[in-house]
Symmetry: C2
Subunit: 556 residues, 2 copies
């Protein structure tokens, strides 16, 4: 069916109709919506991760750069979307899609999202958001309280204060991290009697005035790539993102951090911010936040914690101890679209000190006037949607206790999967789960043994051969469409820090069952057999290392 | 009804149910959704702009900083939202809400938004977005074509190219402007044989290497406040945002621009970017883009056009000439959530050169690998929603011709309103509409005459008195809730650049009728009478200037 056959007449009457609320339950739009919901529910109920169609073929449906001259009927267009877009999008909510930080969403968010779309508030200012402004401030207050647990009097005083801000709601963790480091940079190079501050005079003059040769943001080598972007955009330069070695659990080494800060200062480079990671993107590990906080206080660095992923762990009474020390951070990033199960586009940054954001405050005549409660005077973004509403609703409908339970079961599931992997003789668990993330790979038993016995040269060759197999399995599994794990590269201490490709799984979807996890391993074993050359290559190297009578390298 | 009376049991079974697709049309959620839609339609159909309830009272409903321990039923929570949030949000889509850049939305976006929310794709990478990635690239291609009108072969070559990018989709115009200036900054201070580029080494070293004393972004005095934010965040400093005088139509003076660039260079300050405004936020005027482009080419400046508001004018065959020269810009910002009638959160920046964004390219191991088509390697934001889908749908359902018609009627409506104001003897049109924005104020006839005859001192006093009245009327009109105009401060040449408070209207809502506009003026006249002291004050000053027998200052 070519959706473009029928076209609608473009008249001003028809256009007005488009903007008018449809009447009654029998309107065409109501019927289209019901049909669409049915289709979406079918899609969401499918147990596959994606229809296999090469991207190059999909691109053919999105090839023209011309805005259509002819108007399409909504019904035709909806069918067109279902055929070309929905059918070839990714089942991010499928229980077997465990490769990235997406999950099934609470279904009640579908109807409630309508409020956000229909009211179309603009949170940049009170005049276009009214009650949404105090709502967003309350959500920020609740998350601030989750992290810092200040007294009620603190929130009564600051949560709705025009000149203060407990944080900022933003489109995601990247903007949240940039905002935190922007605030930290401006507070580090603030105005004095004879200097206007970096926000006014810029970095060049600020560094000359303060007598520094450069600025640095310090983070473990497992920090998120958004920090590199932040260093670039803020004018510090990517080289100013200084990384510190981690231990075998991907956690920053406090002594190495201390040394890095001293070394930087000795070069007249100001390490104005240290970033602790609470849930590394690749392995889900948490830096020793308390120790970092102590070091930061001693060196007068802004201590930011990137808890985009792990912050929700604070909801669990059983596991929140994992983030001990986060309450000492000057600022914290949390993504609600990760483990708070909100649709894409809901990040937050919180500041311990309600005055911290004054260093980036800005005003304009027609909005954001001095003294107004407009949220836009403390955000990097301008116009923003009422996304905070969905966080508000989920906090009420799921509750703290419910979120705690979700976190606990995610971590338990990761533990189960780790044990399952350890119980096999052909999979290697590469990183232990601390939260609900883990990494592993498929290695035939003989190859694992050989890796242990190998010389450094042999180890490198064998590990590279295994890397090829890991890549093949991950790619093939994604393409068959039954399940999806992602892959990344680590440098495990166990293998002398060799570049090691691993499967990465994130077990946050409450609908992912143990049976599905068993199935994923079984499928990976079967896929390995589809690459006889890669397998033979591994076995050849392995059998050249382990003393086994006669290598069985023949293939059929 | 206190919504908190009933609470749901927090058990893992109940939590699983939350994540499960409801079955059949009789499910509780389906009923809630139908009820909610009915309520939202009622709200959208109301002809008021806001229920009057002081913010301080609304804040009482959003006072606790504690995440609820008890789970709320969805039905209870929905009622709670309708009472406390929806009822006290702003009718941004009301035909009499003409104060900001919000409008009624095409109603078909309500059902279609479900696709975006339900599929919850993450556009940062192909693995979590698949068909949404080529779709977004196509939308960027279509808008690029709208601006630059390159040949089909150009788009066939670049639109889906992994290593190139025609632009970036982002949450709004602010991020779009920051992205454009980030790219411009990095291209101006690029790597050489013995310098790593500003993106690596940072601004301090870059300026030393290139021998500059500072950087500047040059824009007219009517530039958007987001540019100040950009100058701050990019490390240039707000003082580096250099503003140029405008003519009596709020357009930059090319000669003044030329002079500014020369002066900056003489001080060894590099004006790396010039921003043309295509639709100033306050008055909707458009800079002489062609003349600016010529100057920029001569001075080797990146020429960015902030067409967040006015860009959609390119859809109109009748009016696109107003933006002549935009095709010479190196980059352009357009907000789809303004005159493309998309819900909040849809900004775009387009680049003439498909290689321009390589200066901000970034990669990461587990995503955004080299050679991938992942959109995230060229965006300031990380995780992003599939918002581009709503632009795609609107371009198909409304069509180029339909958008053209919408633009034409908005501009015609502004002309009508300007004529209406000019035909009265008690309103002054302060800025003529070029697009669908205009500013005006209420001045009793005698005061207008007096302003013309006054000495400078008298003029200042009288103008200040009128300013007080304008503020009163705007505030009061907003509070009565029947209509809403915003206000800002201009410095009109007619009144020797005195600070002048004006009403600002934006006439983009297709449902705003001429009758509504007549009603707004009538309402403002009536409100003026509610401030006898302010009126008396104005009349006293006026009658002290104009030679009238006996001033009638008595009130009753």
């Amino acid at each position: 069916m070519t959706a473009k056959n029928k076209t609608a007449d473009v008249t001003f009457e028809n256009l007005l109709r488009i903007f008018t609320i449809p009447e009654g339950p029998d309107s065409t739009l109501t019927r289209i919506e019901a049909e669409l919901s049915r289709n979406l529910n079918l899609f969401l109920g499918e147990h596959i991760v994606a229809e296999e169609k090469p991207l190059i073929d999909i691109e053919k449906d999105f090839a023209s750069a011309h805005i259509p001259e002819q108007a399409q009927f909504v019904s035709e267009h909806t069918e067109h979307l279902l055929d070309t877009l929905v059918a070839h999008s990714v089942h991010t909510s499928a229980p077997s899609f465990v490769g990235h930080m997406t999950s099934a969403l609470p279904y009640f968010l579908m109807p409630l999202s309508k409020i956000m779309i229909a009211l179309n508030q603009n949170l940049v200012k009170i005049e276009t958001s009214k009650a949404f402004t105090p709502l967003e401030r309350q959500v920020l207050g609740m998350i601030h309280h989750l992290i810092y647990g200040e007294e009620d009097a603190f929130y009564a005083r600051w949560m709705h204060s025009a000149a203060h801000s407990l944080g900022a709601f933003c489109s995601g963790g990247t903007i949240a991290n940039i905002t935190a480091l922007w605030v930290a940079r401006n507070n580090a190079l603030r105005a004095t009697a004879d200097f206007g501050g970096v926000e006014k005079e810029g970095l060049f003059k600020a560094l000359k005035y303060y007598g520094y040769e450069g600025l640095a943001i310090v983070v473990s080598e497992r920090g998120h790539y958004s920090l590199k972007k932040a260093a670039d955009v803020l004018g510090i330069g990517q080289d100013g993102l200084v990384s510190v070695a981690t231990d075998e659990h991907n956690r920053i080494e406090p002594q190495a951090l201390e040394k890095t800060l001293k070394d930087l200062k000795a070069q007249r480079i100001l390490p104005f911010a240290v970033v602790g990671v609470a849930g590394t993107t690749e392995t889900g590990n948490i830096d020793p936040l308390k120790a970092m906080a102590t070091i930061c206080r001693h060196h007068h660095c802004h201590f930011h914690v990137d808890a985009a992923w792990g912050g929700a762990t604070l909801m669990s009474q059983q596991h929140r101890y994992l983030l001990d020390g986060i309450e000492l951070a000057d600022s914290v990033t949390i993504d609600a679209h990760k483990q708070l199960y909100i649709p894409m586009g809901a990040g937050m940054v919180l500041f311990k000190d309600p005055s911290a954001m004054q260093s980036i405050e800005h005003h304009a005549q027609y909005i954001l006037r001095q003294g107004s409660k407009d949220l836009g005077s403390h955000t990097l973004e301008g116009s923003r949607s009422g996304m905070a509403m969905l966080v508000y609703s989920s906090l009420h409908i799921i509750s703290r206790a419910g979120y705690g339970m979700l976190i606990d079961q995610s971590i338990a599931k990761a533990r189960y999967f780790a044990d399952l992997i350890n119980a096999t003789d052909d999979f290697e668990l590469v990183s232990e789960p601390e939260l609900c993330l883990l990494t592993y790979r498929y290695i035939p038993a003989v190859a694992l043994k050989a890796l242990e016995l190998a010389t450094p040269e042999q180890q490198l060759a064998l590990n590279n051969a295994i890397n090829e197999l890991t890549k093949f399995i991950q790619k093939h599994q994604r393409e068959t469409g039954r399940s999806f794990v992602s892959r990344t590269q680590l440098t495990p201490a166990r293998w002398r820090h060799l570049k090691t490709i691993v499967f990465r799984v994130v077990l946050a979807n409450p609908l992912t069952t143990n049976t599905i996890l068993q199935g994923i391993l079984q499928e990976q074993r079967e896929i390995a057999r589809l690459a006889p050359q890669l397998m033979t290559n591994i076995e050849n190297i392995a059998y050249s290392i382990v003393p086994v009578p006669a290598p069985k390298v023949t293939q059929e």
